[in-house]
Structures are given as C-alpha cells and as structure tokens.
C-alpha cells in the first residue's frame, strides 16, 4: 500500500514536472482559429460563436458526444434488465417540500427553456438546458413525486432517442442537394439548429435523469414513507 502511494507520488511528480516544462516551452501558434470562427460566423445561422462551433462547424463531434451519453443509458438499461430491482426508492414525501417544488419546478422549466433559446445569441444551449431539465426531474424524484409516464419504457426510450435521431436525420436530409453530411443551407441553418437543439434538450434531460433513475435503488425504507410527519412519542 505504501509502496503504491510512493510509486504514485513519484509518477505524478514526474508527470507534473513534465507538464510544467511543456507549458513553459510552448511555442506561439501560427494558426488563428478564433479568427476563422469569427469570419465564418455570418454563415453559421447563429450569433453565438460557441453554439456555432458546437452545432455547425464541429457538429459531428456533438453528434458523437450525444451518442456517448445515450450509450451510458443503454448500459444502465441492460444492467437493470439483467438484475431486476425492487421498487424504486423515491425521495422525501414532505408537504412543505412539495409546496416549494411546485413553485421551483415551473421556474426551472422556464429557465431551461430560456437557456435553450439563449443559445442562439448568448451563452446557453442544448446541453445546459438539458442539464437544468434533468435537475428538475431529479428534484421531482427526490421530493417523492411520481410521474407515471417515466415508467412507460417505450415512451422513455422514444424520448431518449428523439434528439439523436433528429440530429442524424437532419444531417442526412441536408445532403440531398449533393453536399457533405451536416451541411446546413445557410438560409435555414438557424431554424435547423434550433430544431436540433430543442430535441437535443429534451433527450439530454431525459438521458441524465435516466442515469440517475437507473442506478439500482434500494427498497423503500418503511419508516420513511409512512411516518413522515407523525408525532414522536
């Protein structure tokens, strides 16, 4: 154990020193990518450079990234089916908490929508909006609110797949005039990106939520659900 720590320490020291050396000796780059991005912005269909990079210039990366996210859920689904679980453990069913959630969650929805909408011209975008959406779902579960439609496997899977399928479909459809994959026509780029982002937001939100849900939960603590607000003897 100590040997292992010493070894790890030496290795990390070496790596850190090497990295420091690399940082110090770094040459100044010739290529100026930010300038290229700025020059291409008018054709991108959005006004915010990061969204342009994520969903237009380098949208192929984003496509694969969403696939990674979906993959994690697929594995979680597979493992869940391999070892069926006891009923899912919900959260804390507290009336005050519920009341707070009833106000907080619509606000979160509006903020998620705002982040999605904002992505076109200021910081924000599908991923951020999706995470807020997922957080809303997680809060809902932690507050013990059940949503029946989340138990509908077909619906959930359709929701999971929606974003990626739309993205892929649009990427293929735009090829019809004979241009490469994912080449949005400049005139419609903004609309197409918005459609992609909208579906991606829903799918990312659902994906992150599923990753939380599909962890094998433990069975309900009997003492938790029933004796919520019972007076203590």
């Amino acid at each position: 154990m100590i040997l292992r720590a010493v070894f790890a320490g030496l290795l990390c020291l070496g790596v850190t020193v090497a990295l420091g050396w690399a940082v110090l000796e770094r040459p100044a780059p010739v290529e100026n990518l930010p300038e290229r991005v700025a020059a291409a912005m008018p054709e991108s269909g959005v006004e915010h450079p990061i969204t342009a990079v994520l969903l237009n210039f380098r949208s192929y990366d984003t496509l694969l990234e969403i696939a990674v996210l979906l993959l994690a859920v697929v594995v979680a689904l597979a493992l869940r089916e391999a070892q069926p679980d006891r009923p899912e453990q919900m959260g804390l069913d507290n009336p005050l908490l519920r009341a707070v959630m009833a106000w907080l969650l619509p606000l979160m929805l509006v903020v998620a929508g705002f982040l999605l909408w904002a992505g076109a011209h200021q910081p924000g975008g599908a991923f951020q909006a999706g995470s807020v959406l997922a957080a809303a779902g997680v809060l809902l579960r932690l507050a013990g609110v059940t949503a029946d439609w989340l138990d509908n496997a077909v619906l959930v899977r359709a929701g999971l797949a929606l974003g990626l399928l739309t993205f892929l479909g649009i990427g293929m459809l735009v090829m019809l005039p004979g241009v490469p994959f994912l080449t949005y026509p400049a005139a419609h780029a903004g609309t197409l990106i918005l459609v992609i982002e909208l579906t991606l937001t829903l799918s990312i939100g659902l994906t992150l939520l599923s990753l939380f849900r599909l962890n094998p939960p433990y069975a309900d603590d009997p003492d938790d659900a029933r004796a919520q607000e019972a007076p203590k003897p």
Binding site: I50, L115, P123, G124, G125, F127, Q128, S131, V132, A134, A135, V138, L142, L208, L211, F212, N215, P216, Y218
Partner: protein, 89 residues
C-alpha cells in the same frame, strides 16, 4: 498580479487535494461538490460563461447528487463520532 485568480487557483488545488486525501467518503464527496462550484467560478474568470453554466448544472449539481446517492447506497457508518460537542469531552 491577479490575486483573485491566484487565490481561486490555489483553492481549487486545495479542495481537490482534500477531496482526494479525505478518509471519510462523505467528506470527500462534499469537497468534490465544492470543487465543482469553484470550477464554475474558474470558468467565469476564464471568460467562458457557457462552460460555467454547464459546470454549475453538472459539476455542482447532478454529479454531486449521483455521488451522494451512491454514498447512500453504500450505507456505511459515515464518520461523525458525535452529534453534540458537549458529549465529546
């Protein structure tokens, strides 16, 4: 000198170090959540509000909850010897 950035960078390293050396799992996870929060601030200092948004929602939010949930799953007697400092003596 950018004192704010220096202090932030230093705190980032300290929280990361503490998260890694903590013997109590829960302490480590809380340190990690704090680390995520500080990362969001660091992204702000790097003029990257997009990443700060993502980090605030993910690093400080969802990852933390996932880890806490896992800790609950492990159901270990987490640290904390006493609840009341009065009883400590």
């Amino acid at each position: 000198m950018p004192w704010l950035d220096l202090l932030l960078g230093f705190t980032l390293c300290v929280t990361a170090g503490l998260a890694l050396i903590a013997r109590d799992m829960f302490r480590a996870v809380i340190m990690f959540i704090v680390f995520g929060l500080l990362m969001a601030v660091a992204w702000v200092r790097l003029q990257a509000p997009d990443i700060a948004l993502a980090e605030a929602a993910i690093g400080a939010g969802l990852t933390g909850v996932l880890l806490l949930d896992t800790l609950g799953y492990l159901r270990r007697p987490f640290g904390s010897r006493v609840d009341n400092p009065e009883d400590r003596s």
